[in-house]
Symmetry: D2
Subunit: 147 residues, 4 copies
């Protein structure tokens, strides 16, 4: 059963990746997915840099938001973000690789809360993100085991 | 004096635009800037679309965050975002043009709060964003009138 | 019809006040209610003071949250808070009277967003609050005009 | 050294409690304090109940905010809240005892982020809270070991 949940998470992630143009355009890669969990990476490119010569807050947010999206869809029930907050703790510099780790805090009924930590190469915290999800009708993939 | 503040806002915005790779890469355009205010637009491209076929939340956030950035730097004192929150109210679809309007709510000491509304072509609310800024040392441009 | 909406808001507020022990215990008073709008006041008492000798953040929040609650229930459909954020801008001192003004930003389906400003006697901003509401089944009062 | 940090946290908490009228008025009790950590409890009284017959959101927030305050002042450097957010997940009922556990996520320079979980008697999650702190000048207590 735990194995099935893991296979479902992987099947859902594959289905998501096939359609996720925005993450692909930014070079965001899925490193690991588990039920209620996702880890993704992005390297800060020159076209992601803001007026201060560091990663645009929107790019850091997008990485965190993507990890949140994969985590909250990992149960193969389609979920959308209703709201998010982010605290920027350290600037991220050109060519740094950022890792976002999303962990499910709770799912009650159709609503979930997910916390995401974004860290740089040195393991320093770049941002803390919290996302609220709402499940809507439908499944992410029909190719899931047993479905 | 109000005229000088307006010229300063415009000079700061020009200096920002020259260095803002991320906004440029996403086709984000500055429509209007005033002291403590900025209005920007972005059209949802196919490379901004997420797993649901609508604009990735990170792209909507980036537009709002950019408008916030131009508004909080409009006094020609460098300001950075310390934290932001966003509520997603309606999906944004491919080819829609989104308009983000950032309005300063308060600046106390070095800290400011800015509210941003993101609307679609029909004037419908797509997202509400609130950003907190912190001024750091330095000016955005040295080409400002009187500086 | 606008008159009916106003009467409904007033009837709902009266029904709320009759059951709102927490606001009563803190001396929170309703000053004005309109559809999607509420204004409330609270004077900082010695039993509301925190470790810094100023109003406990929780007391400022409670005032703002009450105004939000009256505003989002003013349409006579029961609504509950799903999440809130607050930014503390200035301390509130003993014996100061704080005014919280809640204004509806949007209601889409069952979900609403309300912004609340908390000001002191001098009209200075003490806190900015944003609340998200979700309508559930039921009406606030059955004594409403036409219901 | 870890022992000194623990003694400092306890000395700071004692100094805080002596001045914290608001928490005392609501019957909020400190259960445990460690460096960057605090656990507090509050029982929902009839004067804390809102219009829905459950704990007013402001009371749940106040409990969480108090735990946050004790955690961010546990290093004996005075810290104040700059902003907080809360997600309400389950109603809290009359006579239930709520436990708020605050855990430091990071302190960078003078700024910290703390996460607080509020649970009911059954260990069910009632609310998730995130607080941002800013250290100001001064120490909480001068009676601290070695200070």
């Amino acid at each position: 059963m735990a194995l099935d949940a893991q296979r479902l998470a992987e099947a859902a992630a594959q289905a998501l990746m096939a359609r996720d143009n925005a993450s692909a355009a930014l070079g965001i890669k899925l490193i690991e997915v588990r039920p209620g969990y996702a880890r993704m990476q992005m390297t800060v490119r020159s076209d992601m840099v803001n007026i201060h010569g560091t990663a645009h807050g929107g790019m850091v947010f997008t990485l965190a938001d993507s990890a949140f999206g994969y985590a909250c869809n990992s149960h193969n029930k389609i979920a959308v973000a209703s709201g998010c907050s982010i605290d920027f703790l350290r600037p991220a510099h050109l060519d740094e690789t950022l890792t976002a780790t999303a962990v499910e805090q709770t799912v009650i009924g159709r609503n979930g809360v997910y916390d995401v930590r974004v860290e740089n190469n040195k393991g320093e915290l770049v941002a803390l993100f919290r996302g609220k999800s709402a499940q809507i009708r439908g499944t992410v993939t029909e190719d899931a085991p047993g479905s």
